[in-house]
Symmetry: C3
Subunit: 270 residues, 3 copies
């Protein structure tokens, strides 16, 4: 049996050796494992941003071991876990909510183990780099075929930490949404989708008003893609993760509007 | 037959999950394909910069499937293509000029197919992420051995979009060149080579004047490498892609001179 | 025999095609070699930073060929070398001190060859990109099983360039340390370890004073990990590379304190 593929997401960045050392640990444990880096550019300590990114990527990831580390409380009392989902994907990371949205997309957690004292971990375990010492080696052994139960102690999936994910809410013909992620291109992802906007009476191809409070009010078009408006025009569209997003064609919406993660905006028919 | 290697260049950056998801799609279609990331740091939407980078890298890339995505007009009417070059390399990406300089270096395009509606694409195709939905899966199937003709509809190579690549021009003993790329080290690549400078009467080892208009006039040496001048001195040299470049030994020429892509400068014998 | 794994560290960054082209050269020479990127984010030309990063990573890297390129004097008289350590690891890179701390951790250099004119190099060798033309192809051939002696001419390991690595020094109950590396999280690594601090009379769990000269005096706690202090508090801890570091829990110590590489600070019991 070839090893199962491992995917790897973190907020470690690529400037330092953190990601490379985790790859090296995996290659030492399971030399034939294929590792796919989802991204290591999650903003530092942004557990929610990492959870949303993992959830958006999951439908495209080959089923296997999904290693994710955004871990502001490393060394504190937070648990380290490996979770088996209903579709047999396994998720490995800190128990801080990072893994749960992806696990639910994979059918929900059917088995959970606590791995902080896993027999598969590297020893001695450092106080600050559990990616290297716990998460990567456990993921590698699981990829190699070790049973989940051998990775740690069974625990109750019902006790896993869950994130409070904000949801857009509608007031009549207006939708109050929040920015949850800003990508490299300055596209601003919202906590809303096509149905939310439709419920507020906004139809594809029509104009909308974006009310940003201190950042002013702006006209935009609700369209399918960038090319449906002129360069430099604002648009609202359903992005490739099926989340509503604000963009500027050939431009940077986050910069134009001064929008940052957690900012709120109202969307109304124009 | 093992799959052909895939190389991958884009302007997606590594902060978000775009590159990782494309890797995941490739691994799903063709688990044994080796993917070599050329770079994902092409400046956003810089089709010409991406084309120059791909052309510079090509002679060193193992022959295979060369996936490249710099796609400011995703979702608009631009075509998506896969091209077979005379040397059997296959290039996959948008039909916006990105692929053509590399294809010509590979002997020219001998077969072209339009892949926007390829039977090999992921469905549904999003409006904004054709890297994931069209280019990566088509590249992966081609790496796995699918015939080019099965990837889409044949089209006329003569109709491919070509970039207007600026060329340096000589006036007597002066060369008017343009900055076409600035690398991480601040080295400024020009649209000229050794022969252009020789034609202007500049010989290796001699001094040159760089006239930058609003950015002033600067003395530099035309030498073989950084170590041929003192630290902090300006040099002009033929870089590893055989393009003329301006650098500062142990320094940053772009910052020192205020040079950016598209800026013009005159080079004259000192 | 499968090829030996190759690890790769450099200051090339990921914006340009430099790293990708080196990977491509390796894949051309030795298609089955596995390449693990340790990091390409070493600060430009920072040989000491690269040497410390390689040394910190080494215990976790699978034994193989360790390619490292931080090469401010490319094209000058510095030698290019491949070194065999006592534990059979092979290190490949410029002879500027970059490789030596890792080689000593691997038991010391037992065989050294000069590879600038290696029969395994690409020809013609460019004046500015020895990563592509010398170091990567030599590393790939060594991974494929070529004997070290066939890579170049034997030279005296005693003649290798060594870095002057600063060492912290103690004056009574005070330790004078230097910042040697700042990571993505703003954690500031010092040239000292737990024993140095213990010798100065500082015990785990106690307060310390950090005297930074122009950057003021700050109270911190000497603890095991971030979670041992409140968010936003300063801490001194032994990091995952077993070097003493200064951090801010959930914050950025380098920014808070204005600390940069080479800055000095006194650490005293509070």
């Amino acid at each position: 049996m070839p090893p199962r593929p491992i995917t790897f997401l973190s907020d470690y960045g690529l400037e330092d050796e953190f990601v490379g050392v985790c790859h090296a640990v995996i290659a030492t444990v399971c030399p034939k494992a294929r590792v796919i880096d989802v991204s290591h550019g999650v903003p530092r300590h942004d557990v929610r941003g990492g959870a949303l990114m993992l959830e958006a990527a999951l439908p495209f990831l080959p089923p296997g071991i999904h290693l994710a580390v955004v871990d502001p409380d490393v060394g504190a009392q937070r648990r380290a876990v490996a979770l088996r989902a209903a579709d047999e994907r396994i998720l490995v990371g800190p128990d801080n909510g990072l893994l749960v949205p992806a696990a639910e997309l994979a059918g929900g957690v059917v088995e959970a183990v606590e791995i902080a004292r896993s027999p598969l971990r590297l020893q001695p375990v450092s106080a600050t780099f559990h990616g290297r010492d716990i998460f990567a080696p456990v993921a590698a052994h699981l990829a190699a075929g070790v049973e989940l139960g051998a990775a740690g102690e069974l625990c109750d999936p019902g006790g896993l930490v869950r994130l409070e994910l904000p949801r857009a809410r509608r007031q009549g013909r207006a939708l109050l949404a929040q920015a949850v992620y800003v990508d490299r291109f300055g596209n601003v992802q919202l906590n809303a989708d096509h149905d939310d906007l439709a419920a507020a009476g906004v139809r594809l191809g029509r104009g909308v008003m974006l009310e940003l409070g201190p950042h002013g009010t702006h006209h935009a078009y609700y369209v399918r893609t960038f090319a449906d408006v002129e360069p430099d025009q604002l648009l609202v569209y359903e992005d490739a993760a099926r989340r509503l997003s604000v963009a500027v064609s050939h431009g940077d919406a986050a910069r134009r509007l001064g929008l940052r993660v957690d900012d709120e905006l109202w969307i109304k028919p124009a």
